[in-house]
Symmetry: C2
Subunit: 460 residues, 2 copies
């Protein structure tokens, strides 16, 4: 692997120095100058190459050419690794070269000495990766995806790229984005009789996906267990710090699953395993982001066994404690965010709420054979973010499904899946950004995704 | 890992039987009946659970209840593993249970004894994963993505989820899809002065991404090497077997890269490594798909060193051989598909074509300092699919970039990246589906993606 890593560059990335070198080794680094202290014999530079949130010091003797070593500049240095008095590695330069100027005095919006509020940083989206806590979030985001793929692959789940363009309009809930070619000329060229002109590319209305679940199910009927990790879209006019117009969903579909608590056990084990992988791969970035967000780093939920409540038990708890809660209690409408967080605090652990009222949940969930007023659905409630996952057993009886009053009329294909060799299946979906918020304590979802899209904002 | 695998099910997946068991072991399988042969003492069933394209035989003695064991039904069986005379493992059932009926006589479009043409299979998209070669493609597709993520992660590249929604309209080339909320009510509610009503959600025209490159570059200026694996969209009226309206792009951006042949060497090494990983993980699926497509399975390009030609050398070869070529030779317009394949055949290996005429390539490519008529761009040409990757060094001089006549007017941010601590960067993009076609020999791109979207077709 070392050979490959050096294939296109002999440069050592700073994050790897502690593992790959020992004091006295000679190596080359390249990065941006984040801080400059000029002392009598040496100049001390903090260097970042984007690989770690830990500070790395480059010590440059005054006898080298140092006048271009200014804040924001890109520098390349060759030198010897030494152990600094604080126990960290640092590099003592033998050669140093400024590759490009920082020009931080000429309109650069960030000051290295100042902690800018996230709203301000977001205004300069194209330069945001240069802010240390954003870079750390992006590395965590990468490693979290990697952990999900590694975990699911080890369990022989097949990742399916569920489509972004779909004719499924999410039960006509009106929160979808519509798609058409931008070119009027193309639309005219492709016109067909009886098709509205703006629909002529696909001959029908096409939307951006709000969930890959139904497409995933169709694949599971040939492949067994499947999952998808894909962008999803909601055209909501929401300024909430938990919602985006474009976000990522991790969804899985399990075959031959007959019990809802089996699904809950799978989710708990998966989330704990993935989080432990992240603690291994990204401990310093996680710690850095938590500190930056003034968030706790104990992740107590990782140790405790998670709780299971029925919907009725959970609602009874909320009703009994309604005097402590600001939000109105509506037994027919589920829980407010405040009530979700109350349940988690009350149980002292994440909570699965099982067996929901049928009228609150969509047509595809399996109706209880002993109590048709309940479906085999679950929500997972977590500290600080509330609902993180939603899941259910799916209705696997083709006749019951076909007779469901809320079945959308263009979903005959979905019933077909059950007709020919039906299976008991179940699955869940998780908002990936909420999981990142849970891990790092970041308040606003706009700061855990590289390019946030929300009402009145789609920069770049 | 074994403990986790069995957590939600005690069922053994067929693909793992050869590795995880030995003759005499007792185990449980579940799957669809793909074939039934009734002999005097036993019924022989081919069982598929979606995990492998290799046949697996279940032997059921006649003294068990077998009347529901019909084609297409879902069956669960417990039995002992035995080595069949052909050297394969098979299961001799002690218990067997039909879980659901196949109903293949009641409108199921596929006949198990018949090989349906891909056009016909595509008509029944929701049932397509039950066709063995489609299921094999989906498993290969999964493992190919996994190999890309594993490879890039090992090299410390950070995966960036580049946005799907963007205001970048790809230089106004007119091949983009436009996005807006479907709800007229929402558009009215969000209306702002001086914003056209259909643009009121984002206050401007928003498109589906055609490439993540520019967004990736912005991230590389803080994080170093990055990559993206994401859907991309083209609103072209193309019936070509190499084009889709929604497809996947693998793009990477490398920092501190100064030479184009370094980029070529990276691409060659990466593609060979990823393909070797796939040969390890998916040999039988690859072989199955190649056979099904009547394609060669030798992948000779994997062994040979790849060739490098300058654009001028490549064009001279085409001109010298124009009598053998049907397509017109246009030195100012690059190569036709036929000419690309001729160059590959002529060289007996994949070919990188380097240093393209400036006027043929986009504004962001680095112009040669010694010959401004040439940019540091490369195309990778492969057998059977032609162009697989395109890449370049990026123009890193902010002033040259700002003065480029083709710079889109809303890309001031892109120039900004270079202004503050500029870097020599370079990168490439690869059409993921074309790579799958190259591997498996599948002629039509619509058959290597779960849900193909193309003109007049967006099913499900």
């Amino acid at each position: 692997m070392f050979l490959i890593r050096r294939y296109y560059s002999s440069v050592q990335r700073i994050a790897q120095i502690a593992n790959a070198t020992k004091p006295g080794d000679t190596l080359q680094i390249q990065g941006w100058i984040k801080n400059v202290r000029r002392l009598k014999n040496n100049i001390f530079l903090d260097i970042s190459d984007g690989s770690t949130s830990e500070k790395f010091q480059l010590v440059v003797p005054r006898n080298l050419d140092t006048h271009q070593l200014t804040l924001g500049s890109v520098v390349s240095a060759v030198g010897r690794v030494q152990l600094a008095p604080n126990g960290h590695y640092e590099l003592h330069a033998d050669e140093v070269k400024a590759l490009a100027e920082g020009h931080v005095q000429s309109g650069y919006p960030f000051s290295p000495k100042q902690k800018h509020p996230p709203e301000y940083v977001r205004e300069h989206l194209h330069l945001r990766s240069r802010i240390d806590y954003i870079a750390a979030q992006m590395r965590i985001r990468h490693k979290a995806q990697k952990a999900i793929h590694d975990y699911m692959d080890a369990l022989n789940f097949v990742q399916i790229n569920t489509p972004i363009l779909t004719t499924n309009d999410c039960e006509g809930a009106g929160e979808v984005f519509r798609v058409q070619p931008d070119s009027e000329r193309l639309l005219k060229q492709m016109a067909r009789p009886n098709v509205p002109p703006e629909q002529s590319y696909f001959d029908q209305k096409v939307f951006l996906s709000v969930s890959g679940q139904l497409h995933l199910e169709a694949m599971s009927y040939g492949l067994g267990n499947t999952y998808t990790f894909a962008p999803a879209f909601r055209a909501e006019n929401s300024k909430s710090p938990l919602h985006l117009a474009e976000f990522y969903m991790f969804e899985a579909e399990l075959v031959h699953i007959e019990q809802l608590d089996t699904l809950a056990a799978f989710i708990e084990r998966m989330l704990k395993d993935i989080t432990n992988r992240l603690l291994n791969s990204s401990a310093s970035d996680l710690h850095f982001c938590q500190q930056n967000a003034n968030a706790s780093s104990d992740l107590a939920w990782l140790q405790a066994p998670w709780k299971i409540l029925s919907y009725d038990e959970a609602m009874a708890l909320v009703v009994a404690n309604s005097d402590k809660l600001k939000s109105a209690v509506s037994p027919d409408e589920g829980f407010s965010k405040e009530q979700e967080l109350f349940l988690v605090a009350h149980c002292g652990a994440p909570v699965f709420v099982l067996n929901w009222p049928t009228q609150q949940k969509p047509f595809y969930m399996k109706i209880s054979r002993s109590d048709p007023q309940r479906v085999h659905a679950l929500d997972l409630l977590m500290p600080s973010v509330g609902e993180l996952c939603g899941g259910s057993l799916r209705e696997c009886d083709a006749e019951l499904l076909a007779a469901h009053p809320q079945l959308p009329k263009d979903l005959a294909w979905y019933v077909d899946l059950r007709k020919y060799g039906g299976l008991p299946t179940g699955g869940f979906g998780m908002g990936f950004e909420r999981y990142l918020q849970l891990l790092t304590g970041v308040k606003n979802i706009r700061d855990v995704i590289p390019y946030p899209r929300y009402p009145h904002s789609c920069k770049m």
